[in-house]
């Protein structure tokens, strides 16, 4: 479509017409007007609202059009169907009323044309905006498409040599195309546990066996002692939590397409790692993996992901190790955002209050799903450090809002982040977070704190 040239054409033709019309107005005498006498050379600028009103009062009274009426010529020129009410103004008055003086008719025509031109301009502007949006979307799709091609044809076949290259890392930061996302995650998470598809089948079979032998939760036959109740109810809890996992997506709920898959993976995991079992928050991680990987591969990624030191510390609720992570986080928090850090301290807002949910669910519960996946992308690239860096990015993004809040509002804000978080902006803020503190990297800070902790430093005690 050649929209710009069309605009030019219309503008030019209207401009020409206006000049000519002005000249003709000057030549005419003042005359009769419906709304009283009007001085002969009233300027062409008039309140558009008033004009509209005038036109509206006249609408419905239009007589038959004559072949040389201005309306027709306008139509020819603009190739534009005006709104019904405005169309009528250019008609001659009914026979029982005095005829429109030529000057007035001329003026009306002129005003009408201005309105039409404005409407047309607006329409064109809208059309251009829509076109731009469409182009942007196409561009985005193209870039995703070409990125997917790059990932598929260049990077994935040469994974071990390319995955640490500068170019791949940059591409990675921009977000992995959904079509290769699962593949990249799998490769990046790895399979240190050497889990095979067969092992998954075995674990799943065992879980199914257990479900059969465990009585229904609502029955009166619950006589287990308190010690085993948590573990046993783990299977029960999975059932209850599955329906509470991304409820708005309606795909994991009873009868939904992924209900059984999610149930299987979580159940198989409790058989694979009975020492860890099912912990709330896991269902979200498994769900995100299911959305990007086949069942057995999702299980392999799930088990390996949870086996990472940070995830193990959290899911086994190793409280002192969790506190060490929080302390390390606070080191970087103070370094990056000293003012906000002081504000949090003053309000006794400790990192556990917001970090627990973020870390346990890897942001899948707190961020919009597509944004959470982008965080996962880089988390797979950079490891646990990136989870804490993302937290600092979020705090940095909302720093100004947070500094004006008291404890409860901050706690509420952070545990229920806004529905719309600008992705690019968030990633800019994450990028601006420095993950070095006095020349020490995340891992070094964490290690030093862990040693302190082993020595029983009182710093980490509440």
């Amino acid at each position: 479509m050649a929209a710009p040239s069309l605009v030019l054409y219309i503008d030019r033709s209207l401009f020409a017409r206006r000049v000519k019309d002005n000249r003709s107005v000057e030549q005419r005498d003042p005359g009769w007007k419906l709304f009283g006498k009007v001085p002969p050379r009233e300027g062409p600028v008039k309140d558009p609202k008033r004009i509209q009103k005038e036109y509206e009062t006249k609408s419905g009274r239009a007589g038959p059009g004559n072949p040389t009426s201005p309306r027709q010529s306008v139509r020819k020129n603009l190739d534009f169907e005006p709104l019904s009410t405005t169309a009528l103004i250019l008609e001659d008055r009914p026979a029982n009323l005095p005829a429109k003086p030529a000057e007035e008719a001329q003026k009306h025509r002129q005003q009408y044309e201005e309105m039409v031109a404005q409407a047309k301009k607006r329409e064109l502007k809208d059309a251009q905006k829509k076109k731009k949006q469409l182009e942007d979307r196409c561009k985005l799709e193209d870039s995703i498409g070409s990125a997917a091609q790059t990932w598929n044809q260049e990077i994935l076949p040469n994974w071990s040599t390319m995955c640490t290259s500068r170019r791949v890392r940059d591409l990675w930061w921009q977000g992995i195309p959904p079509s290769v996302r699962g593949k990249v995650w799998s490769l990046a998470v790895g399979n240190d546990l050497n889990i095979t598809h067969e092992l998954y089948s075995i674990c799943l079979a065992r879980a199914k066996e257990k479900w059969k032998t465990t009585p229904a939760p609502s029955s009166e036959t619950e006589t287990e002692d308190a010690g085993s109740s948590d573990r046993e109810s783990s299977l029960e809890l999975i059932k209850l939590d599955i329906s509470r996992t991304f409820p708005q997506l309606c795909i994991f709920q009873q009868g939904g397409p992924y209900h059984d898959v999610l149930h299987s993976i979580l159940g198989a995991y409790t058989c694979y790692r009975p020492d860890v079992g099912y912990v709330q928050g896991m269902s979200f991680i498994a769900a995100v993996l299911i959305l990007n990987l086949d069942t057995a591969d999702a299980f392999i990624a799930f088990a390996n992901l949870l086996n990472k030191p940070c995830q193990m510390a959290f899911f086994r609720v190793d409280h002192s190790l969790m506190l060490t992570y929080f302390a390390a986080f606070e080191v970087f928090f103070e370094e990056n955002l000293p003012k906000l850090f002081a504000h949090f301290k003053k309000n006794n807002l400790t990192p556990d209050i917001y970090l627990i949910d973020w870390i346990f669910t890897l942001y899948s519960k707190s961020l919009p799903l597509d944004l959470a996946c982008r965080v996962w992308d880089v988390f797979c690239r950079d490891g646990e450090e990136f989870l804490f860096r993302t937290a600092l990015g979020l705090l940095r993004l909302y720093q100004d809002v947070l500094t004006c809040m008291d404890f409860i509002h901050m706690a509420q804000f952070l545990t229920r982040l806004p529905d719309l978080i600008p992705a690019e902006q968030l990633f800019q803020h994450i990028a601006a977070v420095h993950m070095t503190s006095r020349n020490r990297k995340w891992g070094q800070v964490l290690q030093a704190l862990q040693k302190d902790q082993e020595r029983g430093s009182p710093v980490l005690k509440r």
């Binding site: 308190a226 948590d230 669910t361």
Partner: protein, 213 residues
């Protein structure tokens, strides 16, 4: 501008997983029943003003905790700074009732040297047909621990207001009689008349600038 309130009480809501803690709080603070809600991981926060006597408003800060046993080592850290607690069980789930004394023991051992005023709540009382715990035995248990007992339903909005307001009144009486005192470094009860004094950042810059110019 914040509405003026006399005191702020911090309440903690505990009980087994899926007994309906979040739904009860949401009914109380948002006035609606959430058909779908995700499991609480860690802790969630709510707040609401309650008028216990004409002109006497209390701000409630409500901590909604994760119910799963695994999270107890995290949530137990939150008892110390709470003045009141709602201990929920699900009247259609006998085990959640049997666990009530575990929850109380857990709380008692982690709240020292303070104490928490607890209210026992039998939740989901709209599901009468599936009831597994009678009102009498729940009342008996509550009595044995010196607690009030109330049966609530978030779905049908039964006794939700009453549960929170009664607990607030009880705490208010204890504060008024001096049995509960406001203390520095304790978040359980805060007075609403703390004036908004000098910002600490101002003080810092004032003090810090001098030696460098």
């Amino acid at each position: 501008m914040e509405t003026i309130w006399l005191y702020q009480f911090r309440l903690i809501v505990i009980g087994d997983s899926t007994v309906g803690k979040s739904c009860l709080i949401r009914r109380f603070t948002e006035g609606r029943f959430a058909q779908v809600s995700d499991p609480t991981v860690g802790v969630d926060f709510f707040s609401r003003l309650v008028e216990i006597e004409p002109g006497k408003r209390i701000k409630l800060q409500i901590w909604d905790t994760a119910g799963q046993e695994r999270f107890r080592s995290i949530t137990r850290a939150y008892y110390r700074n709470s003045v009141g607690g709602l201990l929920l069980f699900d009247i259609t789930n006998r085990r959640s009732f049997q666990n009530v004394h575990n929850w109380l023991e857990e709380a008692q051992s982690h709240v020292q040297p303070h104490s928490i005023v607890f209210l026992l709540v039998g939740h989901k009382c709209d599901l009468e047909a599936q009831r597994q715990v009678t009102q009498q035995e729940a009342e008996k248990l509550a009595g044995a621990y010196g607690m009030r007992y109330v049966e609530t339903s978030a779905r049908d909005a039964i006794n939700v207001e009453k549960a929170f307001v009664d607990l607030t009144r009880d705490i208010f009486e204890l504060v008024r009689s001096g049995d509960i005192k406001i203390q520095d470094g304790w978040e359980g009860v805060k007075s609403g008349f703390v004036p908004n004094t000098v910002h600490s950042s101002e003080e810092v810059t004032k003090g810090g600038r001098q030696c460098f110019c």
